[in-house]
């Protein structure tokens, strides 16, 4: 009888461990929380990689979140949902849907591996990669480019 109680307790603990509320983790180097659901809306605050955010509301591709007391909208592509997908239990996608991008990022191809790879292959042109990565346009520049070319500001609400 005692064992059955333990089994029930075990089952409940397992469920509690996976039934996490709709939380998200930032998966870009730095994400932006904005005032409105638009790519060029004023920036409320910036959030570094790995931070956890709680969803308060969802509209289309935008989530309303609160980060250190600052509230605003973040685009779904900048975050990964941490919620457990029960439907995954019946298929082969369990690992994919429950994996924690941030926890795993410290375990695979990391800056440490890159450093070791660079030491082993000194002729690789990482200096040029850095140069290409340094081509950064401001949001204002992109917005002006879109406007001057009679293009559409993407991602906004229809």
């Amino acid at each position: 009888m005692k064992k059955i109680v333990w089994l029930v307790l075990l089952g409940s603990l397992m469920m509690a461990a996976v039934a996490v509320a709709a939380t998200f983790r930032v998966v870009t180097e730095e994400a932006t929380i904005r005032k409105d659901r638009k790519f060029f809306a004023p920036v409320v605050t910036r959030v570094p990689y790995g931070e956890v955010l709680q969803e308060q509301e969802r509209r289309g591709d935008w989530l309303m979140v609160n980060y250190k007391g600052r509230q605003g909208w973040i685009h779904v592509s900048a975050v990964q949902e941490q919620k457990f997908d029960w439907s995954s239990l019946s298929g082969g996608r369990a690992a994919e849907s429950t994996r924690d991008e941030v926890a795993l990022a410290g375990k695979g191809f990391t800056p440490e591996v890159e450093k070791s790879f660079r030491n082993k292959n000194p002729k690789m042109r990482y200096d040029l990669v850095t140069q290409v990565e340094s081509y950064r346009l401001s949001e204002g520049q992109v917005e002006n480019f879109i406007r001057a070319g009679n293009l559409r500001e993407p991602g906004g609400e229809p």
């Binding site: 064992k3 075990l10 180097e29 369990a94 795993l104 591996v113 002729k123 990482y126 081509y135 346009l137």
Partner: protein, 301 residues
């Protein structure tokens, strides 16, 4: 009593197999051990099994993809020079950013970056993680901003579809994930780091060979064409720009050029036909783009 213990083990094994979620199993085994139905050795075995299985099944994270892409780009840039024209670089990056924002993945770990390779060859390479390298030879063939947008949007399509990562042999990735074992994040032993570095090297080669030497499959190219037309249309570009640019390349390929890009991108005529039917099915008509045509003239080679 013994049967109950077996039942407990079966339940846990079931969770391992069904969930593949190591953290869940660890909660269960901890409880199981404190209840006295699992020995410390059983717990260790079950935890280890769960972690290995879960990791072997996992996809590459976006951050890992970013580091992989940097290495692929560093390899390519060992063979080409960058085209030192900041004005054209800015123009290309503006077109690229505009299309990226209209893509299905506007934000990626390190952002999208576009650069021109100083070569007459016709080529464009999307490194995983968002670095897109396009040859001067290819850009010079574009007859409008719409066609330039088609080139970059197609490459963004490869990144969003993660085609570069798919080039890595499944066996190699499984081996890399298994090599990680259950160690704490960011702390590799010397042997483990050496093994991972070798696997990283192999993965970089897999991607490099595919995007530079052998090319993506015809299906992947067609999917990237489709993505490109969708992103362009969302951004306000005329998606026929893709059809026009493919038409130019198809004429050159029919003309007998079988070097570089034309060898890694066979079947241009089929892609052209696919683009034509896609545009017709969507009902997207050609549009005027006077402002962009005027702008393009200032960047024409």
């Amino acid at each position: 009593m013994k049967n109950r213990n077996h039942l407990m083990l079966i339940v846990m094994a079931g969770f391992i197999l069904l969930g593949g979620c190591a953290e869940v199993v660890q909660v269960g085994t901890t409880v199981g051990q404190s209840a006295g139905v699992l020995s410390a050795k059983d717990k260790e075995l079950l935890d280890k099994h769960a972690t290995t299985m879960a990791q072997a099944a996992r996809p590459m994270t976006e951050k890992e993809e970013y580091y992989l892409g940097r290495a692929v780009a560093a390899t390519i840039l060992g063979q080409y020079r960058l085209y030192p024209d900041s004005r054209r670089n800015e123009y290309l990056n503006s077109i690229g950013r505009t299309n990226a924002l209209s893509s299905d993945k506007p934000y990626i770990y390190g952002g999208y970056h576009f650069a021109i390779l100083d070569t007459d060859e016709v080529n464009a390479m999307a490194c995983p993680g968002g670095l897109i390298l396009i040859s001067r030879g290819m850009l010079q063939r574009a007859g409008s901003e719409e066609e330039l947008a088609a080139i970059v949007a197609h490459e963004i399509g490869h990144i969003v579809n993660r085609d570069g990562v798919k080039a890595i042999s499944a066996a190699r990735w499984t081996q890399a994930v298994t090599a990680l074992g259950t160690d704490a994040a960011g702390r590799f032993g010397g042997r483990q780091l050496a093994e991972l570095t070798t696997l990283f090297e192999g993965s970089v080669n897999d991607v490099f060979k595919t995007i530079v030497v052998s090319g993506y499959s015809q299906e992947q190219e067609k999917a990237a064409d489709e993505s490109a037309m969708i992103y362009m249309q969302r951004a306000g570009y005329d998606p026929s720009g893709l059809y026009d640019f493919l038409g130019r390349l198809a004429r050159e390929q029919r003309g007998g050029d079988k070097r570089g890009f034309f060898s890694t991108h066979p079947g241009m005529t089929e892609r052209l036909e696919m683009a034509r039917s896609f545009l017709a099915a969507k009902g997207w008509k050609r549009m005027d783009h006077v402002a962009r045509d005027q702008r393009f003239n200032a960047y024409r080679w």
